[in-house]
Symmetry: C2
Amino acid sequence: MRFVKGHGTENTFIVVPDPEGTLTLSPRLVAALCDPRRGVGADGVLRVVRTKAVPEVPEVAELADEADEAEWFMDYRNADGSTAEMCGNGLRVYARYLVDAGLVPSGELHVATRDGLRWVTLGTNGDVTVDVGPVEVLGAGRASIAGRTYDGLRLRAGTPHLACVLGEPVADVDLTRPPTLDTGQFPDGANVELICPLAENQIEMRVHERGVGETRSCGTGAVAAAVAAAHAAGTPGGAWTVRVPGGRLQVTLTEAGSLLSGPAVLVAEGQVRREWLDTHG
Amino acid sequence: MRFVKGHGTENTFIVVPDPEGTLTLSPRLVAALCDPRRGVGADGVLRVVRTKAVPEVPEVAELADEADEAEWFMDYRNADGSTAEMCGNGLRVYARYLVDAGLVPSGELHVATRDGLRWVTLGTNGDVTVDVGPVEVLGAGRASIAGRTYDGLRLRAGTPHLACVLGEPVADVDLTRPPTLDTGQFPDGANVELICPLAENQIEMRVHERGVGETRSCGTGAVAAAVAAAHAAGTPGGAWTVRVPGGRLQVTLTEAGSLLSGPAVLVAEGQVRREWLDTHG
């Protein structure tokens, strides 16, 4: 099994090329691949498969009329082996791989995901921009972290978020334990972003991802953070720089959607060994 | 740069073949390679280089008279880029690689390390056995962990250890923070092993490694744990099974030395990408 390891602002991915859809990626195998101790190690797996080769995926079947626009399907798997609809940083690494492998020309393209078609563009400076779709503002919310209450904005950006704009640097908040959320406000839990405005349209952010813990970056979290910061500043949207522990992202908020830009790095390429696959597959 | 990623009871290593010693592995590059976010991810790097190709390494120069016995030198680097004398689990993975790559025949061999020549043998069942040398018993010691005092045995197995035999399972001890040691007893700190006897000559062990945190396994720690368990049982040594979070190790204590046996797994092989090396090298 061939693979490429890459990252987008230190969200890490194992890209597995499987153009004709011949591989079986069991949850057990995905979990072993993503395990940093027993396997290669990553936050998720991105299987690169032609949209026409996976008619059995229900979300792809729903795209049938539009699928001609999107030759490639991003089959995203979480580190625990489960599937997920979308991953903003994952899609940026996925697109970088497609261009790097010569599977699409550089420039603009559409990628099929379980959450529909997504538009991607590769800039001449190496950054990759993806449209992560509109963000829905649901109202006020709050979280308790290490005994303190944080007020924020409830948002839906594919996944549920609570984005809290603080009046102080975010470095000292203890995120080793999950924030406590009101189950009435967040029946399915949420990612929680802590945000500190740095300058005009510049913020820093830390994020606690639901079911994962604090991470180095979160694409939809960066978008949610920009929306909350714009809301707090009383501005309608615009272009934001979001500093995360793993690097720097650009978010552009328009009426039509939310663009997420940033680096997408391919680290190494290789092959998983046959004996290892026989044990873990 | 070619590499193989492997692990020994979930201590992870990046094996870098460099037979003629032409690579420059700067501390910065090693740290980036070992970074699970920006790089490949591992606990350390094992450069595979001919002993004759590294006359500039002082410890190899000291081995000159014996070096004919050991064609290969294990150039071990910690994840922070510093060098280390020896690593028991690393040497087991190193030897597995040598045989797998056809650089030595299977069976017995000597490997040159910064801590002298080490004898290794590859069993027919896939296990690799290394001689990690004698263990020096220094006397009683104690550590404070999460507000509780643990009494144990101070040992030197290359590195300093405090091995504490408990009368209860080790699962519940909170090792998220470093144990507090008496600086008079441990001027350079120590690895701390918590041990629970399971059956005759069988123990389970958890370990907090100095400067690292809790790890899934520690080769010299397993040897130290077996010595402490033998001491507590009033037996002279013998063969011990040591269960660690990352798997199972066998330790055989004799008057001549300490043998450490266990699996050594090669996960994947590949190449680090040129652009990435240009950025991080």
